[in-house]
Symmetry: C2
Subunit: 708 residues, 2 copies
Amino acid sequence: MTATSDRPALAQRSTSAGDAASTSEARVDVESLSTLLLGRWADLRASARATAGEEAFQRIEGLSMREHRERVLEQMRLLVGKGQVWRAFPEHLGGANDPGGNLAGFEELVAADPSLQIKAGVQWGLFSAAILHLGTPEQQDRLLPGAMDLSVPGAFAMTEIGHGSDVASIATTATYDPETEEFVIHTPFRGAWKDYLGNAGVHGVAAVVFAQLITKNVNHGVHAFYVPIRDTNGERDELGRLPFLPGVGGEDDGQKGGLNGIDNGRLHFDHVRVPRTDLLARYGSVAPDGTYSSPIESPGRRFFTMLGSLVQGRVSLDGAAVTAAKLGLAIAVRYANERRQFTGATPTEEVVLLDYGTHKRRLIVPVAEAYAAHFAHDRLLDLFHSVFSGEEDTPEQREDLETTAAALKATSTRFALDVLQETREACGGAGFLTTNRITSLRADLDVYATFEGDNTVLLQLVAKRLLADYGKQFKGITPGQMARVVVERAGDMALHRTPLKRAAQALADVGDPRRAAGHLRDPETQRALLTDRVETMVADVAQALRPAQKADPETATNLFNAHQVELVEAARAHAELLRWEAFTQALETVEDAGTREVLTTLRDLFGLSLVERHLAWYLLNGRLSAQRARTVTSYLDRLVDRLRPHAQDLVDAWGYGPEHLRATIATGIEKERQDEAREYYRRLRASGDEPRSEKSLRKASKGGPQAR
Amino acid sequence: MTATSDRPALAQRSTSAGDAASTSEARVDVESLSTLLLGRWADLRASARATAGEEAFQRIEGLSMREHRERVLEQMRLLVGKGQVWRAFPEHLGGANDPGGNLAGFEELVAADPSLQIKAGVQWGLFSAAILHLGTPEQQDRLLPGAMDLSVPGAFAMTEIGHGSDVASIATTATYDPETEEFVIHTPFRGAWKDYLGNAGVHGVAAVVFAQLITKNVNHGVHAFYVPIRDTNGERDELGRLPFLPGVGGEDDGQKGGLNGIDNGRLHFDHVRVPRTDLLARYGSVAPDGTYSSPIESPGRRFFTMLGSLVQGRVSLDGAAVTAAKLGLAIAVRYANERRQFTGATPTEEVVLLDYGTHKRRLIVPVAEAYAAHFAHDRLLDLFHSVFSGEEDTPEQREDLETTAAALKATSTRFALDVLQETREACGGAGFLTTNRITSLRADLDVYATFEGDNTVLLQLVAKRLLADYGKQFKGITPGQMARVVVERAGDMALHRTPLKRAAQALADVGDPRRAAGHLRDPETQRALLTDRVETMVADVAQALRPAQKADPETATNLFNAHQVELVEAARAHAELLRWEAFTQALETVEDAGTREVLTTLRDLFGLSLVERHLAWYLLNGRLSAQRARTVTSYLDRLVDRLRPHAQDLVDAWGYGPEHLRATIATGIEKERQDEAREYYRRLRASGDEPRSEKSLRKASKGGPQAR
């Protein structure tokens, strides 16, 4: 965080007098906002953030892949000593049974090095968490200590080369052999190799392997097995790898587009035998004679329950992505507040980048979105904690958690990539230098868009839930009633899509654009616009998909496919609404009046930016008259202007200091250079030695005495 | 390029029967299209492409920064032997005076390694080209041979830490000393260090340095000087660097977000003296007594003439960006045509990714845009060649060239980044592995968006030209006539913005969405929509900026700033129109009927995608009725469906083979794996040993005898 004394004074920050509305006079209380943003697990988050800023945990740029991997493993050992990474585990094993607090801290690791965050996520959030959530108490007691204290680095072997998103179709088999009371883990073909597994390339000595459980010639679907993969008594090779155990093989995934501190790799199994007791048996077990049993009767529900227990990965990626976006914005806003280019109103004074119309917009709108994403993530953490701490672990809560995590993870990881690209470009050539951090962050964050659930697939999950909820409204409804609904809906469409409603809006706004703008600032209007869009899109798709229920599979598939784009778009709209609601809800918790005023304007900016993004939809569906729609952009610009003087405060309040930003251009060096240059020119002018410019001489000779 | 036999048969490619319109029956003649796309300098382009595919020129991933830099230098030495890089230079120096052919070949280097393309660009396109374009014939003869044959690796020292886009404000001074007949090159403060210079970090021994030329205490503005920077008789240090000459200093820029095969660095000068004769003197020279003279009287025009001679950088970046986008698309389309995930209509058959609604759209729409960008670049090369070969070197042509280069460079570099991100994600986890190429390409291309002119700044240049052209219409117009124009414009706005015109459209389309769709496929409609948008936006901004002419500087600056976003948007619209026109023009040159039919559909898709992107604008400005606007997306989806069977042909026709794509997933390996998996399951079913699934058993037991 920039010390208050270093931050340019308010007055200095904006050279454009422009719209001196109330918000620019309000002040953000950076310290109290910063505390508020630490959220429910403030102490844990603050201490994890401090850890992330320690030199030992900071990423060193330019290391070779091997050095980077070893450094990250070393950092994980240091983390074990700090205890934070154990918080989600049971108390009797040294944990704190505090899943929310655990994630709050875990997410902050991204500021140290995304490789550390993700490799720690593999060890404690996937490998150990699978033992915790899928294992029996006996298995937890037996297997967790080594996983937790990192004496057993482990891989989470779910994804296969051939099947990523479609986990149910993985091809690895675990066939029970009652003779020896063992499972035989086997990879039947190349596409069934486990791939992209952190810890598999070098460090892992065990893995939780997902495979089709087959016993008595019946396939009971995907289950997880604890499988040792490397011989801990063997000799390490020149790359530090222990030899694979018999029947186990693999490859290093090698260099990646980012996250090169993680040793991703592939694994395959040639009839590898593991004891019957190493099937992680909470949701399904096999008796010595081969009889399968499960507390969950339906194979489908069993599968989703097992997978659902791993939702924390998505929750934490949402938080980490928001943090990464904040880091990029904090760097770029600081630089844009100092960097000057081209003269404006006065010939000797160059304009600060953040005073340019395009620059203001490209940075301040994402600041608003980052706040929305932050507050939405806070709500997601609450939901996650209530389920996983057992406070309120109901099927409905779990379902909400999964849907919300999918919606927010897909939205925030996309947002982080867009922001990191925009901020890189906003910093020009300097943004491309590794010393200014942004490119490395972006490279690392890239894969967040497709791992722990490909974003497109996740958004479809969300859309399906929205459709299901929509359908529930009509459960038990008679055909006659349904017909009425359809007619009403058609009537609604007719109303919105004909000029009637638009005409009414237009009449209401006649001659007064301010009325239209004021209308847009009303939170109820914003809520109505955002909510209506989700509901209408869902209803439209539901209606379009209705024939699929009675169609043959091919027609149904084609129909679904033809509406896939709208489905995904509806899910995005849902995520946007969630964020807006979270932002709005958070405003109530802000006590300082000035801060609340600025944040309210920021929330309005976020809301309006969504409306602007989807303006065509609002127009096509008659939700906004052309007249109102035309005010959206100009009003949004006014909000950006009002917020511009607060931009630095808003990013400072995120609480990331130089030890987190680690960008040379965000250290004040640009201002020093500008000051030095201006001082040089000032002295030169004062000395009387300043050369005259040919241009001004020509003007003078042409223009005669009256020219200056 | 995939051999025809390797390509999946047409019938296989689309599993969605859907809209079997004419285009899917037409066939692309890949070979003849490929030849057509080689363009005007087909032989040169083909031979440069072959060079780019040679092993010696291919990028080796995972090299250290130092190794990568040395490899690229070595590759440049090999290029000298091939002669291609000299084509733009005068014949008496070994060149061919063929600027267009030179660039056509040069751009292909990006397929070998973007670092090679850019470092070659620094040496021959900037350092040597500055000597060629800014030097006198004597200076060319004296300085070019060493620059051309790489015995003098050189830096192009224009940008300073403090001034990138605003070249006129650079602070380095070159003060003439008549006593010794030398210029004194000096860096007055830290912000005036030259920065981001290729060849400055390690290899450069000379530089073309841009500085404010001061003689007789008059500043004549920015001029270029030939300045030796390293002592070629000195001893190399452990990094292979020769010592700096006295007074010269510098730093290595170190690691970057990409392009790490280039040794970017900083330079500064402490009263370094160069002979009077090493001012590159074509556009300005200093007599021994210090008297300045120039063939161009106006300092402003002189400055822009000097800078204008360097436009080829932008032209070549446009071409290279389009090539990079093609490489990403070729990889992702091939993979999407083979990769399967989730079952669809039949339970044993998984769906090919490219048959999914979202996937089709995310890849095929950019394929259309890549074609548009390709043809637009061809036109840009023609324009460039006509000016720089002297065929038609007029001020108007130069102005057109500069505007077009700025518009297209800004658009295609943005496009390349978006495409490389989209294709990376479309390939899932595999896309993140370096072995699949896309992430490295994207990292390298990142800086294309801000170097050789920041895209936002370039688009403003374009917008200013559009405004100037708009203003010219009214040159010499009387106030009365002007008033009439304003009234007419207001009338036009009233017509378009009220429901009158919309109502007329709506009436015309009543009950027949096909009529609305057919209307959109008419090229004249597309042209009218795209042209009208540019013209209207320009006219709107011009009108909004009118008060600036008589305002004080501060008000004028603020007004301009308030409309900066629209200015940039108008420039983008102009670039989009250029591309659409180039695509349309190119259709006439396609002789094969099937190919022409498919490409026409592709052009329609491109046109419609632009209309969809800006749908809100068309609605707000009354250019499309809601009814027509609603057909845009559904019609666009139909075009995507029609083109889907041709996707592989369309990317194959770009002519990049495995030696250029160098992506494991684009080698057919995915299909092999899928075939192996399917064969395994086929045999398993045939063997009768296939385990039954618990799910189907449960269904059977529940459903009784009638269930299957």
